[in-house]
């Protein structure tokens, strides 16, 4: 399975970043990045939601719990939301969540919110590369290896977390 901690010690740690992009602006922008053949780091994996307002803070926590080292959120620029004001709701939740994460001892640079318009394919490239570098510097996110209080999937514990916990002990 994963040898990320070994990798980390070998200075080749590859961060895992989960991104939540809104359908109308940022996901479309990410498609444009592809159409424009702008290369970027392979570390970010995108999950599409209709609106950044759909992003429940639990999604971010779940991603971090499941082994992500960082989470990126992309929405429409202020004033441009396809659903009028979902991005403002996302911003509110994001700010609150950041304070919460800080108290949990998670570096706030691990989560990032960016407004990326459908035409800003180059911005997706830049933000993904920046974020990857940023999280790479921070190193792997080490969470205390509690067994899952609940599972959303097959009930198996994520091996990486166990590994991370052992590495930390």
């Amino acid at each position: 399975m994963s040898n990320r901690l070994e990798s980390a010690s070998n200075q080749t740690f590859e961060p895992r970043i989960v991104a939540f992009f809104c359908n109308w602006c940022t996901y479309t922008a990410a498609d444009l990045t592809g159409i424009s053949r702008l290369l970027y780091a392979p570390n970010v994996r995108v999950i599409r939601v209709m609106c950044s307002g759909r992003i429940d803070p639990q999604f971010i926590l779940a991603a971090l719990r499941e082994g992500a080292d960082g989470v990126l959120i992309g929405g429409c620029h202020p004033g441009d939301c396809h659903y009028l004001e979902g991005n403002y709701k996302a911003l509110r939740r994001f700010k609150l969540l950041k304070r919460f994460l800080k108290r949990m001892g998670i570096e706030e640079e691990r989560v990032r919110l960016e407004w990326i318009a459908a035409s800003e394919g180059d911005k997706v490239q830049r933000v993904v590369n920046e974020m990857t570098e940023q999280v790479r510097k921070l190193g792997p996110l080490r969470l205390f290896p509690l067994p899952h209080p609940e599972t959303h999937g097959n009930g198996q514990q994520t091996p990486e977390l166990v590994a991370a916990g052992q590495g930390g002990n």
């Binding site: 895992r16 996901y27 498609d31 159409i35 290369l39 759909r54 999604f59 499941e66």
Partner: protein, 670 residues
């Protein structure tokens, strides 16, 4: 082994995974067969294949055969963006008897193969995205499409050649069109031109018949001097609020006889005439130009003595036999309903003052190309005479190309029309004045039917072409023959020599820019624009007149610089797309609405304040005052779902469970 029935739900998922090569678009970076083998190992996956083109007919048939023959009841296609082919594959599933929402797409082209350097990394990333899709699709539910009736009317915004052509096309197909134009007359930029390249057709001769067709067409409601100030609703059912500015003249009564203009207490025209870009003068009561449509006068309230000062002999009122003058007119807001909108708001020309070194605004005889169009025009301020400010004819004229185009300091793009209109003006100036004409160009760009031939013709006519971007225009003479002239300094890059060309008149070939308020307009209609400000089409090749917002279409230069033939072609295309939508009579909406589990709702009403569409209300009849979602109003953003503290709200297609599965899936590295 009994074969599960794919049509029923509730069966254990039997997932089929299909990895598309997309020719070499994906296969060039992603090891597709390795990915397919990996997918076969994932839970509930019963079939996993890779194929050259999944979207092709044989590709779709592979999926359909697996649904019919092998009991596949969930489908994952790993190929391009869902924004590209989700509909294609959903339909393929549906045609094979599977509910189309038992489908999920993994985007391994735009998000993987096209953006990843390393093949191994691209392959691994593809596996993670497919793992996520496989886990997600297991929780998919069968859903029904929603259908909404489409209002049969269409609103066209902008009355230049694009809007005119689109409106006429729709009207002649029997649809009612509201054509809304901000200026007092339709016609746009084209009405200002004298001739059109490369055929040298007279612009008015080909445009004004179309303008009067618009006026007289029973299916067109023409609202000039009107602006869209609000847009509500969605594809098929828009409500468009229009501000109608007062003309102080009753449009329906005025016959355009112009007696009022003659009678006005201002004996001389002393105000800058906007239509002639200030080169001519007009009175406070005026007709924008002789063929204005509608042929109705209007009054400028800041200049009219009666309106500005409250005191005037009101001779215009006395002389008007139709009693059309009405000083009491007020601005009013009207609302129209329509099924589709075509935006044809056009462009503005680059402001030459932004490049001071070319001397516009400093030297009287430096003109913009649009000003020269008016000078050349027979109905322009000089009656078609090309004269300098002092009334004399120029003996030499310099045309500076690429002013505000192909320039990092202003606009980096090519405005596409300037080379051709510069050639046209060069021809007209030479023909009318016999002057020596010098073109200063960076590159001549003349792609188009008959365009290169026109360039050849100009070369033969003896027009001078100097290849080099102009450094400056100055009146600082270095030799006696330069005295009193404007000197154009440029390096002739073909011979590598700096040159000074003294001329009497300089024409700046200004580029095309998005309107200054294009950003406000696109926000109004909920579409996006490029960083330069041009409205963005849904797909640069395959959906060039659609936008990301269903029901809003684009025509003409609001989408990017283009010439008249391209504009008209695009306007026809936009009309056809709008027509297709309207004629179909209904639009399909994604069934991604939210719904509330009443038994989980605590009645806290958090969601009610979240909804931007007022789609959620309290069910007063329920015991616990729970909230309910009005499905017809819900647009499917999911903001309420994320806000519900009880987890009582679900969004179809984006349930919490599905997204959690996806999160775990993308993180399940091999």
């Amino acid at each position: 082994m009994s074969m599960p029935n794919a049509k029923t739900n509730g069966d254990a998922p039997r997932i089929g995974v299909y990895v598309c090569h997309c020719g070499i678009n994906i296969a060039g970076k992603v090891n597709c067969s390795e990915v397919a083998k990996f997918a076969a190992t994932l839970p509930n996956v019963v079939v996993s294949r890779d194929y050259k083109f999944m979207c092709s007919d044989p590709g779709q048939e592979i999926i359909q055969e697996d649904i019919r023959e092998r009991g596949v009841n969930r489908v994952v296609v790993a190929s391009c963006s869902p924004l590209m082919h989700e509909k294609t594959f959903r339909k393929a599933c549906m045609d094979a008897g599977l509910n189309p929402y038992y489908f999920q797409m993994a985007n391994i082209r735009e998000h993987v193969s096209w953006v990843t350097q390393d093949k191994a990394e691209a392959t691994e990333k593809s596996k993670a995205l497919i793992a996520a899709a496989v886990r997600r699709v297991g929780l998919h539910q069968p859903l029904e499409k929603r259908f909404v009736n489409v209002n049969q009317d269409v609103v066209v915004v902008g009355g230049g050649i694009a809007g005119i052509h689109a409106a006429l096309t729709l009207a002649s197909a029997g649809k009612h069109v509201y054509l809304i134009e901000r200026e007092p007359t339709i016609g746009g930029h084209m009405a200002k031109f004298d001739k059109t390249f490369p055929t040298l057709d007279c612009a008015a001769c080909i445009l004004t018949p179309k303008m009067s067709d618009v006026k007289s067409h029973p299916n067109i409601t023409l609202w000039t001097y009107s602006e869209v100030v609000g847009v509500d609703g969605f594809a098929g059912n828009f409500k468009v609020k229009v501000k109608r500015k007062p003309r102080y003249v009753k449009e329906e009564d005025c016959v355009g006889c112009l007696l009022c203009v003659d009678a006005c207490v201002f004996k001389n025209a002393k105000f800058d005439d906007e239509f002639n870009l200030g080169l001519g003068k007009r009175k406070p009561i005026y007709m924008p130009f002789p063929q204005a449509t509608p042929p109705v006068v209007l009054i400028d309230p800041t200049q009219c003595l009666r309106l500005a000062k409250g005191k005037c002999a009101e001779k215009c009122v006395t002389v008007c036999e139709k009693n059309a003058i009405d000083f009491t007119q007020q601005e009013k807001i009207e609302e129209v309903e329509c099924g589709a909108v075509i935006l044809a708001t056009g462009f503005q020309v680059f402001d030459a003052l932004r490049i001071p070194k070319y001397g516009y605004g400093k030297y009287a005889n430096v003109y913009t190309s649009l000003e020269v169009e008016r000078l050349v025009n027979a109905s322009g301020p000089t009656g078609g005479e090309i004269v300098l400010r002092d009334g004399s004819k120029p003996k030499s004229v310099g045309i500076v190309h690429c002013v505000g185009s192909r320039d990092k300091k202003t606009n980096d793009y090519c405005s596409r029309v300037c080379c051709m209109y510069s050639l046209k003006l060069a021809h007209l100036v030479k023909e009318r004045t016999g002057a020596e004409v010098y073109n200063f160009y960076i590159d001549m760009r003349t792609p188009g039917k008959g365009y290169e031939e026109f360039y050849d013709r100009l070369l033969e006519e003896g027009t001078h072409f100097i290849r080099g971007r102009v450094a400056e225009v100055t009146d600082w003479a270095m030799t006696p023959e330069e005295e009193g002239k404007l000197i154009i300094r440029a390096e002739d890059t073909l011979i590598g020599v700096p040159r000074r060309i003294p001329v009497d008149m300089v024409i700046l070939s200004v580029g095309l820019e998005p309107h200054a308020d294009a950003d406000a307009v696109r926000r109004l209609f909920g579409i996006s624009c490029s960083h330069q400000g041009w409205f963005t089409e849904r797909h640069p090749k395959l959906a060039p007149v659609s936008t990301a917002t269903d029901g809003i279409f684009l025509a003409g230069a609001c989408q990017g610089p283009k010439d008249i033939p391209d504009t008209v072609a695009q306007a026809g295309a936009a009309a056809a797309e709008a027509l297709a939508m309207v004629v179909r009579g209904h639009v399909e909406l994604e069934p991604n609405t939210a719904y509330i589990h009443a038994e989980l709702c605590s009645g806290c009403r958090t969601c009610i304040g979240m909804c931007p569409y007022n789609a959620i209300r309290t069910d007063e009849t329920s015991e616990f005052q729970v909230s309910v979602v009005n499905e017809a109003l819900c647009k499917g953003c999911g903001t309420c779902v994320a806000a519900c503290p009880s987890g009582a709200i679900e969004q179809n297609l984006f349930t919490d469970g599905q997204i959690f599965e996806e999160i775990e899936g993308v993180l399940s590295y091999v």
